[in-house]
């Protein structure tokens, strides 16, 4: 896998008499190969354009340049992965699903707000699951144990509330 991104679905608003399309915001991006910043921005915006114009009831796969793109929409978020030629597409779909399951297990009924406010946790969970573009650990139990262990090294809610707010 070369990249995994999560972006919010676009919002169409009717303003006065014309429709304005707001492009989705990128909530999560992970690159497994070295790519320059400019290239990253371009790839992301191209991919988002492609995704936002997909019709409903189409398949979850796209071919774009030399990448296979696998995407799935969960509520207001699109998760998409850019795969190399030899990667298995259905399995990548399940990788996306497993990742969302892991997020769900950790946050409890995860929603987009959780990912916005706890973005660093989203990255940590991703790190427990994928490494270098390959699947590291497929056991939901094992990943959860890791995250819980890390959390026990944290402070409690009281300590949290006593922290400065700036």
């Amino acid at each position: 896998m070369r990249t995994l991104c999560g972006s919010s679905a676009a919002n169409q608003q009717l303003e006065r008499s014309w429709v304005r399309l707001r492009q989705g915001k990128l909530r999560l991006q992970k690159w497994f190969v070295p790519v320059s910043e400019r290239e990253k921005k371009k790839v992301v915006s191209d991919m988002m354009m492609l995704l936002l114009f997909r019709q409903p009831r189409t398949c979850n796969f796209l071919q774009w340049k030399d990448l296979k793109i696998v995407y799935k929409r969960y509520a207001s978020l699109y998760f998409c992965a850019g795969l190399e030629d030899q990667d298995n597409e259905l399995l990548a779909l399940e990788v996306l699903h497993r990742y969302v399951e892991l997020l769900d297990k950790y946050f409890g009924n995860v929603c987009e707000l959780d990912i916005i406010f706890n973005f660093e946790k989203a990255y940590f969970i991703l790190d427990e699951f994928l490494m270098g573009g390959e699947v590291l650990e497929t056991s939901k139990f094992a990943v959860n144990v890791s995250m819980e262990q890390a959390d026990t090294l944290q402070e409690t809610v009281e300590e949290y509330m006593s922290k400065p707010a700036y």
Binding site: S8, N11, Q12, L14, K25, L26, Q29, K41, L50, R57, T58, C59, F61, L62, Q63, A75, S76, D85, N88, L90, L91, L93, E94, R98, V100, F107, N109, V110, C111, L113, D114, I116, F117, N118, F119, E120, Y123, F124, D127, M131, G132, E134, V135, L136, E137, T138, S139, K140, A142, S146, A150, D151, L153, Q154, T156, V157, Y160, K163, P164, A165
Partner: protein, 731 residues
């Protein structure tokens, strides 16, 4: 309220994020960010040493700002300082910052490597994993130099914890991919292969990726893994769904591990050892059988996982290409998927069948599905599926169905997306040429191509049709007649004018007998298009005119009149002016013999490979065009002069393995040059790639209006849970 109870919520960070979200405009957002950046800068430079918590918080804020899309040019030092903290969370944030904002500052790299080294030798598994992750995320050469020898040792050491082993394996993989020369596996090879037998499934999962990559580069050293992989696979495939506990995914045992094992086996030819081979065949048959059984769960995740294994198994069967029984079964299974309810499966089935189509054992079986595929081409709503169907038609085309397939592809071309038209045109041209028994059909097809998708017909295509017409006497008259009729259409494409101009110039005499197409009529027809054409086409037409003067002396006066007029001999384009002047002179002073010699009919072109195949390969990347096709391409050019039977097709196809990338670089080392002639010369370089290789940058024209007005007034980020119970993949 965000998940505060998960501890480690940095309150200042949460407040900052809220502020940003509440900004009403981009300017307000930038203002808030700048304020924060100034605050952080002052804190970092301040006299008071920051405590770990604050440092962590500010580094995290910087990270957030960076991920929003703004540039960050400070904070790296503080992040590196966090690495040496003893608190896990601070280390974690430090590593995250560094992984995301990789910096090539050499001072920092030294410090980072130092911190990593300390963590690696700390014997604390959590710290070790953090360090390994950082190396895998960054994977720079300096890191490879520093750690490439250390990591294999960690990987195979007996006292390493399982989680660390997993991380070490994939970390090593990443280093190997970026700096293969620094990762020397020599002494560790057998121990790494032995990891395939590890108790812990996670370790096996991670180790396999590493072994697969290493096997691709050094197949001989790692070939002992094949039998281990087969036995592991058969243990998984035959296990009940409760055996593997947490590694069972929606009632499918270890899908990721199974797929990885199957992919590893694709790096090697079929095992020679009879017992191993038998076991493997049994495995594959079990997988195929399972696909026929009723599903254990209605959830789409179950079927996706099950089918992922199935598709990977089919890839392996195709790769081996040696078990006819399995191949036919695979083909039938794919055939069933072609008509499945789920679009994903139809898409993947079409894709897999493309590779199946070039195997000699299953080629016939694939052809039986031609009606389904044609139907898919016509009726599928999803453009990516239609494109796969077109690809499959191209792959399964052979002598028996070529006319039907080309006709279907032509009618599809009329409504195809613009982004794929050029590729379709190339494919139709290749097929038409390859399977033409009757070259008048070929000429018709190409002219149809120009009529339907003229803009996307690249030069290679119409050069080719001209080459073929020139080389084959039997089709010249037909070509002249057809082109003449095509030109009479009120709006014909410029490429048609080019082809028409050239062919009439050479062979107009063959139809001059008929009063409806007498010389003057032909000339007027061509000249009526003259002013609509671009400069290169006009140049071509001028050459056609001088050829007319030679062929039809009765038109000399008319044509000279045209050449003499100001718009030609004083044309602002140098090429046109030169031609007009020279042709005019030539026609006036040369005797009929000289004129006839100069403007003699074009000799047949020498045999050369089809440049169309080269162009298609270039468009799709290596491996898209199989070796068989390239060899056929070479052979068919020998048939331009009416060569012999094409009996070697089947053998050539069987010899090639379509799934491996074709070593085509040297076959097409020399791009075929344009025919040496006075025409058709486009001003500027010949065989120029008129169309760039960029992928579809604009969305396909499939935007429909009702999509825009849906979902009005929905909030930007919803608090809807992402996972809803019972929601399958809606079709």
């Amino acid at each position: 309220m965000p998940a505060v109870s998960k501890g480690d919520g940095m309150r200042g960070l949460a407040v900052f994020i809220s502020d940003i979200r509440n900004c009403k405009s981009k300017e307000a957002e930038i203002k808030r960010i700048n304020k924060e950046l100034a605050n952080i800068r002052s804190k970092f430079k301040g006299d008071k040493a920051l405590d770990g918590y604050s440092k962590k918080k500010y580094v995290c804020k910087l990270l957030f700002i960076f991920l929003l899309g703004h540039d960050i040019d400070f904070g790296h030092m503080e992040a590196v300082n966090l690495l040496s903290s003893n608190k896990y969370t601070e280390k974690q944030i430090g590593y995250l910052f560094i992984s995301v904002l990789v910096n090539s500052n050499s001072e920092l790299i030294r410090l980072i490597n130092n911190a990593i080294k300390n963590d690696l030798s700390s014997r604390n598994p959590t710290f070790m994993c953090l360090a390994l992750h950082c190396i895998a995320n960054v994977g720079s050469r300096e890191m490879a130099e520093a750690f490439a020898s250390e990591i294999p040792r960690i990987l195979v050491a007996g006292d390493t914890m399982d989680s660390v082993k997993q991380s070490a394996a994939l970390c090593l993989l990443r280093l190997y991919k970026t700096s293969p020369d620094l990762v020397l596996m020599g002494e560790w090879t057998s121990r790494v292969v032995h990891l395939l037998n590890d108790q812990h499934m996670g370790v096996v999962t991670a180790a396999i990726s590493l072994i697969t990559c290493l096997s691709q580069k050094n197949p001989d050293e790692f070939k002992t893994c094949v039998s281990l992989a087969v036995s592991r696979l058969s243990r998984i495939v035959s296990s009940a769904s409760t055996d593997l506990q947490d590694y069972t995914y929606y009632f499918v045992p270890a899908p990721w591990l199974s797929c990885k094992l199957l992919r590893l086996l694709q790096c090697y030819p079929p095992p020679e050892d009879g017992a191993v081979k038998g076991r493997l065949v049994e495995c594959l048959e079990t997988i195929l059988n399972k696909a026929q059984e009723p599903p254990k769960s209605k959830k789409v995740q179950h079927s996706n996982a099950k089918n992922a294994i199935l598709f990977e198994a089919i890839s392996l069967i195709i790769h081996y290409d040696s078990e006819p029984n399995l191949l036919v079964r695979a083909c039938n299974q794919l055939g069933q998927f072609l008509q499945h309810r789920e679009t994903n499966l139809r898409y993947l089935a079409l894709e897999s069948m493309c590779t199946l189509a070039s195997s000699e054992f299953s080629h016939e079986a694939v052809k039986t599905h031609i009606e389904t595929v044609i139907n898919a081409l016509k009726t599928e709503r999803d453009v990516s599926v239609r494109q796969r169907a077109a690809d499959l038609l191209y792959a399964m085309c052979d002598r028996s169905n070529s006319k039907q397939i080309v006709a279907e592809m032509l009618s599809y071309l009329e409504t195809a997306d613009y982004s794929i038209r050029e590729e379709m045109v190339l494919k139709v041209a290749i097929l038409a040429e390859k399977y033409a028994v009757d070259y008048s059909w070929y000429v018709d097809t190409i002219l149809n191509l120009i009529r339907i998708a003229g803009d996307y017909v690249s030069e290679e295509v119409w050069y080719r049709v001209i080459q073929i017409v020139i080389n084959r006497d039997d089709v010249q008259g037909y070509a002249a007649k057809t082109v003449f009729e095509a030109l009479q259409a009120p709006a014909c494409h410029e490429n048609m004018v080019k082809v028409g101009g050239y062919i009439l110039g050479e062979f107009g005499n063959l139809i001059a007998g008929d009063p409806r197409s007498n010389p003057l009529v032909q000339f007027n027809l061509l000249h009526s298009k003259f002013h609509l054409c671009s400069v290169p086409t006009r140049a071509l037409l001028l050459s056609a005119y001088i050829k007319f003067i030679n062929l039809f002396p009765e038109t000399k006066a008319t044509i000279q009149e045209v050449l003499r007029c100001d718009s030609q001999i004083r044309n602002s384009d140098v090429e046109l002016q030169q031609r007009a002047v020279e042709y005019l002179k030539l026609s006036s002073i040369a005797s009929t013999d000289v004129l006839a010699t100069v403007l003699e009919e074009m000799p047949p072109f020498p045999e050369r490979e089809s440049s169309i195949l080269a162009k298609l390969k270039k468009k799709k990347g290596p491996g898209a065009v199989s070796v068989a096709e390239l060899e056929d391409g070479k052979r068919e050019s020998g048939e331009l002069n009416g060569g012999g039977e094409r009996g070697q097709d089947a053998a050539a196809m069987a010899a090639s393995n379509a799934s491996t990338p074709s070593p085509s670089a040297d076959l097409l080392g020399i791009r075929s040059s344009v025919p040496v002639s006075t025409t058709p010369a486009s001003a500027g370089s010949l065989l120029v790639d008129v169309f760039s290789e960029a992928g579809p940058a604009a969305p396909s024209g499939a935007v429909n209006d009702d999509g825009f007005l849906r979902d009005l007034e929905q909030p930007t980020e919803t608090s809807d849970p992402l996972l809803v119970e019972g929601s399958g993949d809606s079709e």
